[in-house]
Subunit: 267 residues, 6 copies
């Protein structure tokens, strides 16, 4: 049993650079086991933050990337056929509730409604998870906490969390870090110089200003780390930016010109 | 058999603060085993009320959070494969009917029609549940009662209970409690002072006035309890309100400003 | 085998108050085994009538509440996995055809087309039910008769019985009973006085006049029985009417006022 | 093996009253094993005609009522799980092809496309049925013939046979019989007098003139037989017509008045 | 193993009357194993051509009639449950690739996209078929060739082959044969006189001119063979044409009149 | 275990003619294990490029042709039923991650969302693949790299990669090669003379100019190789071009004339 959960422990401290008071607020929320919702754009560090908090709190972390074909059974568990007949296998949410892990549902709005409704009894004062197919009622371990992520600018009109789900979570806003903080992150993660890292951040800032004016999303911190890694691997900075920053996010010739021009300005 | 049902007994009295004559009306309805429908907005205490009534009546309570992917089999039961072949497993509705529990179908309108039609024979004078796949006809235990919840402001045009379902239930209206009652609830549940609890309720009342004017739902009692818990955990009241009351329910900048202003007025 | 069917026998005479010549017409139809369709609004007594006829004719009755997720297999039967391999299990329609019961498909229009087509060979002169998956052709027992119900005011444009299905049935119209008859029914079923019963019927008649003018359906006989039961259980008549007659069928404030006014007129 | 097919033999001559040269044309078509399509409205005798031809030709008849949830496997066959593992079970089309029966697919346009495409190799000069899941290629028995029915006035725009399917069949048109012929049929089938039968046919003719002017379909021969049966069972002729002819096909008050007037004219 | 494939060998030469250089072009395409697409209307001889080429080349032929419910597993294969557990069974495409047959996917555009994508690795220089569920990579036998058919006038806007699929095939156009050639085919296949055959072809030509002017498709060669067969079976020529040529393809009275007039002109 | 992966090794060097610095950029990306996205039209050499890179890097290559019916289980793996019960079978992505192969998801945008979300944890710094159904967390082998292809001009409005997916990949653009390079490729692959190869490329260039003016896609390099192969097999050049270049991509008479004219210009 402890083997199942131990593989979800984080053994080395993840690098995370706090931006505001998000660490303290999350700790307070955890102290009262309030379910938390992390809001913010793609690639700004939400997943890393959860890893950091799990490490800091000393709890295992089970991450589930949600998608529209995920069913409640994928979260809760299912019966498998065995030599002795059927055998129950806990899903990631049941494991987290049973053994006391943080359970992080990434992009939960992508999931079907049954997946979101299944978390309701875990997010009010009952803190239970009914395994209806098994006829068992898991009372959540005292260490258990539920965390979900949510990208507000991203949801279509057709897909949004139900109010009755939203109201079950406290919420923290995330965004791209300030220039100096993001530079520090890029330099730390890729080993480029601070000067190069700062240039990369400047390019990203130009792209982020184009969000909603031809770009669906700006260039994320994660993409800057990719570009920096290519530079460290010996690729010319301009080429590295084209491969890692420009070409992946747009096929529109005008947008590509605008982004290429931003690259040329700094390199 | 008694083990199956005993896990659904409520051992300690749930805290419930009656608002009007809802307790007496529910008791009368139970005395003639009239199926009941609880109407009201998210987080105003319907679930807690059912727990309280189950405890008061001394009956076990089986709660099912309904969702659009739930099938009739999830309620009624199914055959599982065993070492000896297939074995029938009662679903939560069959357990409740067989052993005499209150069965509470939360947000029943979310379920598919087959789930709502399956309850019809349990809600007229027949009081039976046909397990068609098993070829068994459960005659409901004399203690059995069906309770459903329903959020009238919430249903889309596409999703509503059929008239032939609605007519099978008596109905009780729920709403957010009066100021003093809600203050008492918050103070009792979180251990904040009555003064702080009253301020939280005042913020909620402002938000509830915005319902339909930019907000889909107001701030619920449950959210106030979250905010109070964070305050008791040492979080600054303004921050606690932002994390627990404002950020979860809206991403609209104007709405956020309006709600933040309400928070600043009281804290 | 006889055990399977005996649980569907009706041991005590159901209370049914004939309105016109529906009993004689049904008996004649049964004498030539004409499949019958009962038309009428929700809760006006169609189900009770079928129970009464089954009791009067001395035949078992198998009732199936149809829904849009019901498949032909749910009616006809399916293979189950057993310790010895697969085993066929008759569905309710196959049981009725094989052992000679009345089979009552309630709200058949809700079912998917495969469910309605499956009854065709049972409703013409062949009177057979092909179990295609099993490779068996059941010749219907001479006692077998098919009865379906249908709510004409209720069907959406998208959902209607096919003409080739309708033409296979004789039809009887049902409606709410006349004032005196309905009063007699309420008094008999709930033990309220005739005076109270008559008032309840008067309230219902007002609501039925609002059908199509803000109400989808009027107040049914079944709802009046609920209200009467609450009154007998000691609930104040006005409260009983609100819980059992008004709140279940509408959330519209104006409609609620109109119905509450009707209640105040009589109590 | 011969047991499987023998249950589909028709032991007594079905009553069929030829209208034109349809019997001779079908015999010629059968002599060259041309697949045949029977076109005509609901209840005009297509099914009876196929039964009559199967009896006359001395071949077994396998009838399948098609529906939109029927899959190719329902026609062709499937693997079933057995004590020794999986076992193949021929579907009705495979049985007919293997042992040499007439296979009658009633209302084939209701079926999904895979069901109609599966018959293609049986309807050209190959006359084979590939059981792809079993890896077997059935060469059709020399007695095998495929017959389908089709109601031209009935198909929606969304549902029609593909041209590549239609072109694989010869076609015979069917319609309601002439007055004298239909009178003869009603009298023969129900034992009412020729006078009463003629009146019933006259009522039907009036209704058929209303087709497309408020009625989707006219009154069919089958319905007249129902009405006649009720009269023979002792029901008053007017009541018999209302139950068997008028109420089943329309709920429109004006249409009901028009049809009731037709009934009153003749009875 | 050789048994599986031998049942797909064509033992007697199919009758095929070449129209242009399609035989030589196909042989050249086969010599370099170029996948081929046969384009043309329903019933003009595409299937017969493939049979003729398979016979001429001395290769087995596996034909699959595609449909919109066919899955990739229907082509590639699946696991079946056995007394010893699961057993893999090759689908028709896997059999053809493994043992070296021509695989003919008839009306491939009807299939779902997964069915068309599954053929991609077989149609470029890799010539492999990955059995992903089995973890096997079939390298196609050197005799294997893929042939698909396609009816250009027939595809709806919603259903077309993807360009990335089309580009993997060489293409041959087919159409109805010239008058003399088609006459020769009809006479050969049905044993009617050349004079009668020529008249049938003339009727077909008139109908083909109505294509797009009230008829979706013209009268095909296959239908003429049906008509000729009925005439040889003793049916009057006019009746044979009505049953085999006119009634199957249209229910429009004007179209029927136009086609009947064409029949009367020649017979 | 090594057997599973060894069948994916490429034993002979694939022919690939570099166009720009794409080989060096891919090598740098592989050195930091950056997931890569190859963008470009159908048949321009993306698949060949990946094969070449896998051979050059000395790593096995697992290619998956994506489609809209592919599920996450098709990539990740599933339980199979065995004589001893269920047995886990790795899918192609799990094999690649576990044993260290390049995994190439061809036309990934065709897949359902669950298929694209499942690759997220493999494409950030975690480099893990959670097998949720098995309860195992695969840490990717250090040799593992993910490559996807994407045709920008081809995606419909309804189908596009999510930004949160795109941002996880570096991107390389591909297009048809320059005239001399493409001529060299055609000559090398088909053994036609350089003169003939150059004419074929000229025809393709004309067709590519028609893209968006009546043609959805131009003539690809792959199609030119087909045409060259037919010429080498003895087919007249004009016929070879018609069969391999013109007829497959359009049925529009004007387009066919334009393309035929281009063929006549050069041959």
């Amino acid at each position: 049993m402890s083997d199942i959960i131990s593989q979800y422990r984080i053994s080395t401290a993840p690098y995370y650079r706090p931006v505001a008071d998000e660490v303290e607020l999350f700790q307070a929320a955890y102290s009262v086991r309030m379910p938390m919702m992390l809001k913010g754009p793609t690639g700004c560090g939400k997943t890393r933050f959860v890893e950091y908090m799990a490490y800091t709190l000393g709890k295992p972390l089970i991450t589930v990337a949600c998608n529209e074909d995920m069913t409640a059974s994928d979260l809760v568990g299912r019966f498998l056929l065995d030599a002795q007949g059927t055998r129950w296998q806990d899903g990631p949410l049941a494991i987290a509730a049973r053994y006391g892990a943080l359970c992080y549902l990434d992009e939960v709005v992508e999931a079907r409604q049954d997946t979101t409704v299944v978390i309701h009894p875990l997010t009010d004062n009952r803190r239970v998870l009914p395994l209806e197919k098994k006829g068992e009622l898991i009372k959540a371990h005292s260490d258990f906490q539920l965390v979900i992520s949510y990208n507000p600018g991203y949801q279509s009109l057709m897909k949004d969390l139900k109010q009755s789900t939203k109201q079950r979570f406290g919420a923290l806003d995330f965004n791209y870090p300030a220039h100096e903080v993001e530079t520090e992150i890029i330099a730390h993660e890729t080993r480029v110089t601070v000067e190069v890292a700062s240039k990369l951040v400047s390019i990203a800032e130009r792209a982020r200003n184009l969000k909603g004016h031809g770009l669906d999303e700006g260039i994320s911190t994660r993409m800057l780390i990719y570009a920096g890694s290519l530079i460290v691997a010996g690729v010319d900075a301009k080429n590295a930016c084209r491969v890692a920053l420009v070409r992946p996010i747009t096929d529109d010739p005008d947008m590509r010109d605008a982004l290429d021009a931003a690259v040329m300005t700094f390199f």
